[in-house]
């Protein structure tokens, strides 16, 4: 069902899963489970929330803006991807999971995904620490590369 997010909490020996209306903030890492009524199924991608204020684009209201968080297929692709000016590298050592996923990646900051949280399903799976988030936001703010907008989920 669209318009809901799944938020899971772990408290030592107590595991609670609850489904509630979307709540997330800047710096959260989310996994989009389902996009707006789309015939073809897209793979589950991770995104970083870079803005959580309401706004409007092309006459359409949004309440969340994200960048996709991607990994590399191989070393050659890693070199190629990191040549793009809009890709912000994230080393494996920067990412903490248990167990370690062993993957480096990048945040693709030259594409802005505008979302209406009521029209997608997502899970909050983690967050970026404030000091790194500040670097990412500063990188976006002070760069001058062109941006592409994705608004078909509004």
């Amino acid at each position: 069902m669209a318009g809901r997010s799944v938020i899971r909490q772990n408290k030592s020996d107590y595991y609670k899963e609850e489904v509630k209306y979307a709540m997330c903030k800047i710096g959260d890492i989310i996994l989009i489970e389902r996009y707006k009524d789309r015939g073809r199924t897209l793979r589950r991608h991770s995104f970083v929330v870079v803005d959580d204020k309401d706004g409007e684009i092309h006459g359409l209201p949004y309440d969340m803006v994200c960048n996709v968080f991607s990994s590399f297929k191989n070393e050659e692709q890693r070199k190629r991807k990191l040549n793009y000016p809009g890709n912000f590298p994230i080393a494996n050592e920067d990412t903490h999971t248990q167990p370690d996923n062993g993957k480096s990646g990048y945040i693709k900051t030259d594409q802005l995904y505008f979302f209406n949280k009521n029209k997608i399903e997502y899970t909050v799976i983690g967050n970026i620490q404030p000091d790194i988030l500040e670097l990412v936001l500063e990188f976006i703010d002070t760069s001058d590369f062109e941006e592409e907008a994705i608004i078909d989920n509004l």
Partner: protein, 55 residues
């Protein structure tokens, strides 16, 4: 006030929107994007992803 409580400087979305030159579909945007693979523990909610200080 602790440094951790320092408010995050938000993006100026109006300024950022002025840099938008093209609107593309989700499908097109994701076509060359390799999804990050997470351990089952992350997907099940038993542990979280945390991106921390770069080394």
């Amino acid at each position: 006030m602790s440094a951790n409580l320092k408010p995050i400087k938000r993006l100026d979305m109006e300024k950022l929107k002025s840099r938008i030159t093209k609107v593309i579909s989700t499908e097109e945007a994701l076509k060359d994007v390799e999804p990050m693979e997470w351990p089952e523990e992350v997907l099940s909610g038993k542990t979280k992803v945390i991106i921390t200080r770069r080394k």
